[in-house]
């Protein structure tokens, strides 16, 4: 899968671990040889941009709605998508990507209402679920296993 295009789709940045996990995933996947794009809302991308000002970890940082528009209009697409979700909107955006893109979806379900939220997912995806808000370590460990499998 080296060279495969990966989209990290960030939702509302209200839950702190999203930014650190997005930076971590972007860096690790890039080092594994994946072509990584990080998409988010204005607030989510600004948080990332300030945390990684020179773009060492997130090399391609783009607007979420523009990215979806490009996929819908067939100007761009991805092989893999990691969709961050801690609310119904995040799930709704991921369902949209599942419908418009050929990407394999990994749903990263985190935050305070993970069980209820994970149950609302009806599209085909691999779910990575941790009920964490401030401490990213458990989610990082689960994603390490996913990346290990992807690198094989």
């Amino acid at each position: 899968m080296t060279g495969a295009k990966v989209l990290l789709m960030m939702g509302c940045p209200e839950i702190p671990i999203q930014t650190s996990i997005a930076l971590y995933l972007s860096h690790k996947l890039t080092n594994l040889g994946f072509d990584v794009t990080v998409a988010g809302t204005t607030a989510a991308t600004r948080l990332l941009k300030v945390s990684d000002y020179d773009g060492h970890y997130a090399k391609k940082l783009v607007d979420l709605d523009k990215t979806l528009e490009d996929i819908i209009e067939k100007r761009n697409d991805f092989d893999i998508c990691f969709a961050f979700m801690h609310n119904d909107s995040g799930m709704t955006y991921a369902a949209t990507v599942s419908a418009i893109s050929q990407a394999r979806i990994y749903s990263i379900v985190f935050g305070r209402h993970t069980e209820e939220l994970a149950q609302t997912i009806e599209f085909d995806c691999e779910k990575i679920v941790t009920q964490d808000v401030h401490n990213p370590v458990r989610l990082k460990n689960k994603l390490d296993k996913v990346m290990e499998a992807m690198a094989r």
């Binding site: 939702g11 509302c12 209200e14 809302t41 607030a43 989510a44 979420l64 709605d65 979806l68 528009e69 996929i71 819908i72 609310n87 119904d88 909107s89 995040g90 799930m91 709704t92 955006y93 369902a95 949209t96 419908a99 418009i100 609302t120 009806e122 599209f123």
Partner: protein
């Protein structure tokens, strides 16, 4: 920012789940149509949503879901010249999909019927 936010719109429901938005549109519209995620309306807004996405008409107003990452889903209503065009486009698309069937007027036909057929189509 999509053109929607620059148009004159009415918020019928705010900060709800997408499922609640769908149910409201199905229950409170004169006619209900179903579209796929990414369906474009008003020149530059691509509908975000979980299929099947319900779009409704109420008189000349287009009733549709609008999802924001930080604020949940909304049900918006827009009534102007463009909404009439959008409703007509939905009617035409429906006719092309089911040339032999009657329109999805709630008084004549349950909106559930359309929902079921769309879901079946989606699963194929």
């Amino acid at each position: 920012m999509s053109c929607i936010e620059q148009m004159k719109y009415t918020i019928l429901l705010d900060r709800i789940s997408f499922k609640e938005a769908r149910e409201y549109i199905e229950t409170n519209s004169d006619e209900v149509y179903y579209v796929s995620p990414g369906y474009k309306i008003f020149k530059d807004y691509y509908i975000i949503g979980v299929p099947p996405i319900a779009m409704g008409s109420k008189g000349n107003a287009l009733v549709f879901p609008y999802t924001k990452p930080c604020h949940g889903s909304f049900v918006l209503s827009i009534e102007n010249e463009d909404s009439i065009k959008e409703i007509n486009r939905l009617r035409e698309t429906e006719k092309e999909k089911e040339p032999a069937s009657s329109k999805k007027d709630k008084s004549l036909e349950s909106s559930k019927a359309s929902s079921t057929s769309f879901l079946d189509m989606w699963k194929k």
